[in-house]
Amino acid sequence: MFGWELPPFNSGGLGVACYGLSKSLSKNVDITFVLPRKVEVSADFLKLLFANNIKITTIDSPLRPYMTSHEYSRLEEDITMYGNDLFSEVKRYAMEARKIAQKEQFDIIHAHDWLSFEAGIAAKEVSGKPLIVQLHSTEYDRCGGENLNKAVYDIEKRGMEIADKVVGVSNLTKSIIQEHYGIPSEKVFAVHNRINADEYSDETNDRIFQIKKDGKRIVLFAGRITLQKGPEYFLQVAKRVLEYDQNVLFVMAGSGDMEYKIMDDAAVMGISDKVLFTGFLRGDELAHVYKMADIFVMPSVSEPFGIAALESMVHGTPVIISKQSGVSEIVQNALKVDFWDIDEMVNKILSVLSFPSLKQTLQENGRNEVGIFSWDMAADECLKLYRTLVN
């Protein structure tokens, strides 16, 4: 399995998904997980094999799984300082992958997201083993359909064409793969992300927070602050909600290329005292903001999946999710909106804040619904795919 990150050193849902899926798969298959640099991961279920002799000459590897065109162009300038570029890094990862594939024993190659596709292809070439490529997001999602990075798109498309099977994390992603990459539908499968609900303790009492003691209510945004996630919509919603109710705080948990722009925008809109930025959070801190929040909003413009919504539900915080999201395909006990429908988001946020029975019902039903989820469900679907390739 070729990936780019695993928790706790993840920058987003990709690492979480790779970890959860691999852990469940490892109950039935042996996995060799290849990462581009040596990291400390508590993943004892994996035979971790670090391709750390790839020379990523930075302290922070320039290779990150979530890359917008803008970031990428900025990155290119940085990289030239090292006499390198993103695509030659990808190629070098692929070359290392080729060596690993010659040494290791395996039956199937499974590569996650475009940065690892060349590695997957190389491994397939030397071993003749079947290749599955999995898309946790596509260039289409990251760019909101505009200013597509052609080089990234080409790698994604080539990977999917050469692969024996293509996995998207939702029906939404499956349809993007078919429509925008021209991959025939019989080759593409949707395997929805999940969450290991039983790993989250049910601490309902743990909900007294200093920040809320004067009756403040909290609306949460948790995710990368980048175009794809719709942070600008979140601000517009905040502005309108505050017209009705001044006693609401808007917490943005995450970082990203639009972080400073959004801070500026909030100031220009005159609501910077109501919009709080926590930076990137993980673990207990992230759990804390989920529990603190009265409602979680995910206004993503294009969201292949959206694991954060499942995390919120499992913490007992009701969610408003964009209809343009993979997660909305598998949860019922959520409020769903079009990402552009600011009025409807405002209507729903204010409803949850004003009707305790609504919050309560969403909370209970949401937790019950997600409570039966586990990564085993996704792993089972992957295993079925594996079997079709091995036999």
């Binding site: 006990n333 409020l335 009025d343 409803s351 609504l358 619904e369």
Partner: protein, 409 residues
């Protein structure tokens, strides 16, 4: 045979911005199934008009044929507004003298859960509407969704009814048969007519289900089943939309219907009977006590479709908190709007158990989720609350100015 005919006033996507600014709660004018006019047209074209035509032909062809309808007040009102020809076609049916109209609440409501006074008012309003449109006075009662318990029985008897329809639920019958009349426990002489759910649902739910082992259901097969059971009467109760809407025309449901009376009457022991005739002529073989609520909904056959989660209970509770203030307003439009909110369908749309209960609710839910139904409902409740406050202010203002005038003279 009894058929339920009902259409609720569905609340449009009424948002927080509408509160205090928009008095029209039920006038969705879009392509969704919240558009009451659109839904009425669709159902009338697929079901009411063609089915009424078939029944009228059958009544003419077979002098022994008889049926009963329960027409909700909110259905009749929408028919008058959207398609008066639907009213006319029901009037023609009633004119045959072999079509009974049952009594129910005008608003197809669950008012009995919160206010017996309001419940009785709505029954009276319905009776007046039926008298006005059809010139008949109902004598047998049918409660919303066939909901029943002993207490309902005693209220209904106190209003002068001789019989009431309800579900022949296994849990209340045990080994007993639904094919007899029973005396309602706790009443003087109220008779229970129990739905034979097996034979009713064979048509209403299973008729076009290809995976059903009896599919396709032919008239002669069905007539044979009807000949088998022992008893005095087989009560076939179903939604009228069975014909043409739930079971589509291409399933052959209308053909089935056209041949049904003839096939039944081939057996000389069979005849058709209206609920009122059954109550007058058939004996009660035993007394039946039904201490808890039963209904004809879902597999549970209880109140859970309308009253099981917190949002349903909250919505209903908040609505009835306003009862007295609304009624004291003397504002007929406000009272009518408030009463339209008591219709059971609003609470059905808020049901969240349908995620596990199969897709029956989903099919009937015009909202994207039960939560959307709740949000629209509660926003309207808040608007009504503002109207009550405004009404009070105006009345006070009126009283003051009256007083001022009085003092001046």
């Amino acid at each position: 045979m009894y058929f339920q005919v009902h259409q609720p006033y569905r609340i449009k996507k009424y948002r927080i911005f509408d509160i205090g600014n928009n008095l029209n709660y039920f006038d969705a004018n879009d392509h969704t199934d919240l558009n009451n006019r659109k839904v009425f047209h669709k159902v009338a074209t697929k079901c009411y008009l063609p089915a009424n035509k078939v029944f009228l032909e059958l009544l003419k062809k077979y002098p022994e044929f008889k049926i009963a309808y329960s027409l909700s007040g909110v259905f009749l009102e929408q028919a008058q507004e959207f398609m008066p020809e639907v009213i006319e076609s029901f009037q023609e049916l009633v004119k045959t003298g072999r079509v009974e109209i049952l009594s129910e609440t005008y608003y197809h409501s669950l008012a009995f859960l919160y206010s017996v006074d309001e419940y009785k008012s709505q029954i009276k309003l319905h009776r007046e509407k039926i008298e006005e449109l059809f010139g008949v006075t109902p004598t047998v009662f049918r409660n919303t969704e066939l909901i029943y318990n002993d207490w309902i029985g005693s209220i209904v008897e106190s209003l002068g009814y001789k019989g009431i329809l309800t579900e022949g639920a296994d849990k209340i019958l045990g080994w007993k048969s639904p094919n007899y009349l029973y005396k309602a426990h706790g009443t003087q002489d109220l008779k229970l007519l129990l739905k034979n759910y097996k034979l009713s649902d064979d048509v209403a739910f299973r008729f076009s289900e290809k995976s059903w082992k009896e599919h396709p259901l032919t008239v002669d097969k069905y007539a044979q089943w009807l000949n088998v059971p022992q008893g005095d009467v087989v009560n076939l109760f179903m939604d009228y939309e069975t014909f043409g809407e739930h079971q589509w025309e291409d399933s052959g449901i209308f053909e089935f219907l056209k041949h049904f009376p003839g096939e039944i009457l081939k057996n000389p022991h069979n005849h058709f009977i209206t609920p009122t005739e059954a109550v007058a002529t058939l004996p009660a073989v035993d007394e039946l006590s039904i201490p808890y609520y039963i209904s004809w909904a879902d597999t549970e056959r209880d109140l859970s479709a309308w009253m099981s989660n917190d949002i349903q209970k909250d919505a209903m509770g908040k609505l009835f908190q306003m009862e007295h203030e609304v009624l004291e307003s003397d504002d007929p439009v406000l009272i009518h709007d408030w009463r339209k909110l008591t219709t059971s369908d609003h609470f059905y749309y808020m049901c969240t158990k349908w995620f596990s209960d199969g897709d029956v609710h989903k099919y009937f839910n015009p909202y994207e989720t039960p939560y959307d139904a709740f949000i629209a409902f509660m926003n309207v409740v808040n608007d009504i609350r503002m109207r009550i406050a405004k009404n009070k202010e105006e009345k006070n203002g009126q009283a003051h100015s009256d007083q001022a005038t009085h003092m001046a003279t």
